[in-house]
């Protein structure tokens, strides 16, 4: 059983929902990322989605675009991101790490080499925003052979046939994008998400994480009620941007943001 599957199974057994924060690796500085990852875990993260910065993040709004720019100013490369995970694993061998990014840095590194080093570093899953399963027949087997979970996106526009086939290509969980738009942009419609996620649950046995538009304890609880986990991104990245000059204050601010979400999610169980 993969680390991701293990964590999600045990949460489910306890009737709890996964809290999955996203931050961009290298933002505000590569030296801070591992520390911030431990901060996220201490504040209640079950899984971390670690963003790999890319020069042209087409699916992201301004908040994550700027995070990529801050990370790239310091030359944060995919190799370095993988090395950060390795360092993180020295102190934490429980929290699953999903690398989330765009295809080109992986292609430039070489898929086989990337899969090998990611596995060796303790990465658990790969989510590539611009790689639909239709284009993944070369890459996905390299991940599966190494027990790296391939996590694919589902969107409000995804047809039933595709929900089935994408789920078949996925392991760990599927990531449902809650609205049509880039990260950090729109407003989540809880009723719509609830009915779509219920429908996805009918078509696949995989856990469903929901991301985009979760900003606070209230939205986290509302989405947690209808899904298996919530992914929180732009609001954290925005917090990093606003506190980039003070590392200690930054850790406090991230903690203050995540803790209430954790509590709100755990209150659903009781």
């Amino acid at each position: 059983m993969s680390r991701i599957e293990g964590v999600l199974k045990s949460l489910k057994a306890q009737g709890r929902k996964a809290l999955i924060p996203y931050i961009t690796a290298g933002d505000p500085h590569p030296d801070q990322t591992v520390d911030l990852m431990h901060t996220l875990v201490a504040a209640g993260a079950d899984i971390i989605e670690l963003g790999v910065p890319f020069s042209d993040p087409m699916a992201d709004g301004p908040v994550i675009q700027l995070a990529c720019e801050r990370a790239l100013v310091h030359g944060t490369s995919l190799r370095q991101v993988v090395a950060m995970v390795k360092t993180f694993r020295e102190k934490d061998d429980k929290t699953p790490i999903v690398l989330m990014g765009y295809l080109n840095p992986m292609e430039a590194m070489g898929y086989e080499q990337f899969a090998d080093t990611a596995k060796a570093a303790g990465v658990d899953g790969i989510l590539t925003v611009d790689l639909p399963p239709e284009e993944a027949d070369e890459v996905a087997p390299l991940f599966t052979e190494r027990d790296l979970d391939a996590i694919f996106l589902l969107a409000p526009t995804t047809t039933d046939d595709r929900i089935r086939s994408i789920s078949q290509h996925s392991s760990g969980y599927v990531y449902y994008v809650s609205f049509k738009g880039v990260t950090g942009s729109g407003k989540i419609d809880i009723d719509e998400v609830a009915s779509k996620v219920a429908h996805i649950h009918e078509l696949t046995a995989l856990p469903v994480g929901v991301g985009f538009g979760i900003r606070d304890a209230e939205t986290a609880a509302a989405v947690g009620r209808v899904s298996d986990g919530v992914i929180v991104g732009s609001v954290l990245v925005d917090t990093i941007a606003r506190n980039q000059s003070d590392p200690d204050q930054l850790k406090r601010a991230l903690t203050d943001l995540l803790r209430p979400m954790r509590e709100a999610l755990d209150n659903l169980a009781s």
């Binding site: 890319f54 020069s55 042209d56 993040p57 087409m58 699916a59 992201d60 709004g61 301004p62 675009q65 720019e69 790239l72 490369s77 995919l78 190799r79 765009y102 295809l103 080109n104 840095p105 992986m106 292609e107 430039a108 590194m109 925003v129 611009d130 790689l131 639909p132 239709e134 284009e135 694919f152 996106l153 589902l154 969107a155 409000p156 526009t157 995804t158 047809t159 595709r162 994408i166 994008v177 049509k180 738009g181 880039v182 942009s185 729109g186």
Partner: protein, 404 residues
């Protein structure tokens, strides 16, 4: 490799691949729209009503066929092969771009989409899009890098006069690639009511296919005109390559004519060796950007490199996937000329033929002059004059130290 019609029909394949290139590398939200677009386009491609509307608009609105003109004085001065000019600069709005926007706007109408978005570099595609939107009464949003808004201010104002909203894109390098990023972002958010008119043969499948089909009118006309006016097929075709739409439009109908050599001319900027250029086929390597796999300019970590060209329309780190395939199989040659050579080409054609080419086109002119000089007098070189230079007069004046 000798290409046959039958082989060509398999490119792109069902998934939009040209050999190792092309494809549909997009976020999930857009996937269904691309499938629908592909399905509808395949249906409409063989629909006589659709084709008749397209042909009628090309004839009466764009002013086709565009002439094939023998540049006698340029030929004499060059002292080699005959140089013929395919006059896309004479199209309505002044460039080849309108062939494609007519086609895609027609598709949008058939699909019932009322809101149009487009990216633009030099502004020619933006103007061509704003033009067809004005004519069809469609809402039009054009994304343009903030740097290009500066250097192509004339076209920005043209788009505004035509009723379009121009969005100056401040992210990244503030040029064409960033405009395309923001157009994609807008599309994701408005996918239900919006049609994205991509301006070149790049982007996810089926865009490289449909833009190529719409632009192929250039090569089809050239082939007929050359046979009747020069009495033979051309020996060489020369076209500039930004994303590659005017080049593929010229090349495609000749791909099975083995004797016809093809030269795509990329922007060499300050020189390939300086790294300050926009020549992915000459100096890049395969990667994935903007929905397709193709040759790209990138650093060793897979980050897209910033580009440089005196011409905004060539200032793009990628290129259409079909060109990447044609390069690999050796069917077309890809070369580059520098900013300075292109500027010389601009001045030469202006002074010797009284035809002022766009700075993009000037790259093709500069290379064609070099090429023709090495060829025999009975040979024929055709330059695709993709656009006229009015939009570039401010840039040229500035280089000449003149304030306008």
């Amino acid at each position: 490799m000798k290409l046959t019609e039958e082989m060509l029909s398999g490119f792109p394949d069902a998934r939009g691949h040209f050999g190792a290139y092309g494809g549909r590398f997009v976020s999930e939200t857009l996937f269904d729209s691309l499938m629908t677009l592909e399905k509808e386009y395949k249906r409409l491609k063989n629909d006589p009503d659709f084709q008749a509307s397209f042909d009628k608009d090309l004839a009466h609105y764009v002013g086709r066929p565009s002439p094939l003109y023998l540049a006698e004085r340029l030929t004499r001065e060059t002292g080699g092969a005959q140089i013929w000019l395919k006059r896309e600069d004479l199209n309505h709005t002044g460039a080849h771009k309108v062939n494609n926007t007519i086609g895609q706007a027609l598709l949008a109408s058939f699909l019932g989409k009322k809101r149009i978005i487009a990216e633009t570099g030099a502004g020619q595609h933006g103007v061509a899009t704003a033009t067809v939107c004005a004519r069809l009464g469609l809402e039009c949003h054009v994304f343009m890098g903030a740097e290009d808004v500066q250097r192509q201010s004339l076209n920005v104002y043209r788009m505004k006069l035509l009723g379009a909203t121009v969005h100056a894109v401040q992210s990244g390098t503030k040029t064409l690639k960033d405009a395309m990023n923001d157009a994609m972002r807008d599309w994701v958010a408005n996918v239900d009511d919006t049609f994205y008119i991509i301006g070149t043969v790049a982007g996810p499948h089926p865009y490289p296919l449909l833009v190529r089909d719409f632009q192929s009118v250039i090569g089809r006309e050239t082939r007929q005109q050359c046979l009747s006016q020069a009495g033979k097929l051309p020996d060489a075709l020369v076209a500039c390559v930004g994303g590659g739409s005017n080049a593929i439009g010229m090349f495609y109908p000749f791909l099975t004519d083995e004797s016809v050599q093809m030269y795509g001319v990329e922007a060499g900027g300050l020189g390939i060796e300086t790294g300050q250029h926009a020549a992915p086929l000459s100096a890049g390597r395969p990667g994935v950007l903007h929905g397709n796999r193709t040759y790209l300019m990138e650093d060793e970590n897979g980050q897209i490199a910033s580009t440089h060209s005196v011409s905004a329309g060539l200032d793009y780190p990628g290129v259409g996937p079909e060109h990447s395939w044609l390069k690999d199989i050796g069917r077309a040659h890809y070369v580059s000329v520098t900013d300075d050579e292109a500027l010389d080409g601009f001045r030469k054609l202006t002074r010797v033929e009284g035809i002022m080419p766009a700075l993009e086109t000037a790259h093709a002119v500069a290379y064609a002059i070099k090429l023709a000089a090495t060829m025999d007098k009975d040979q024929v070189v055709v330059i695709n004059v993709s656009g006229r230079g009015d939009k570039d007069i401010q840039t040229i004046a500035k280089l000449d130290g003149i304030e306008m």
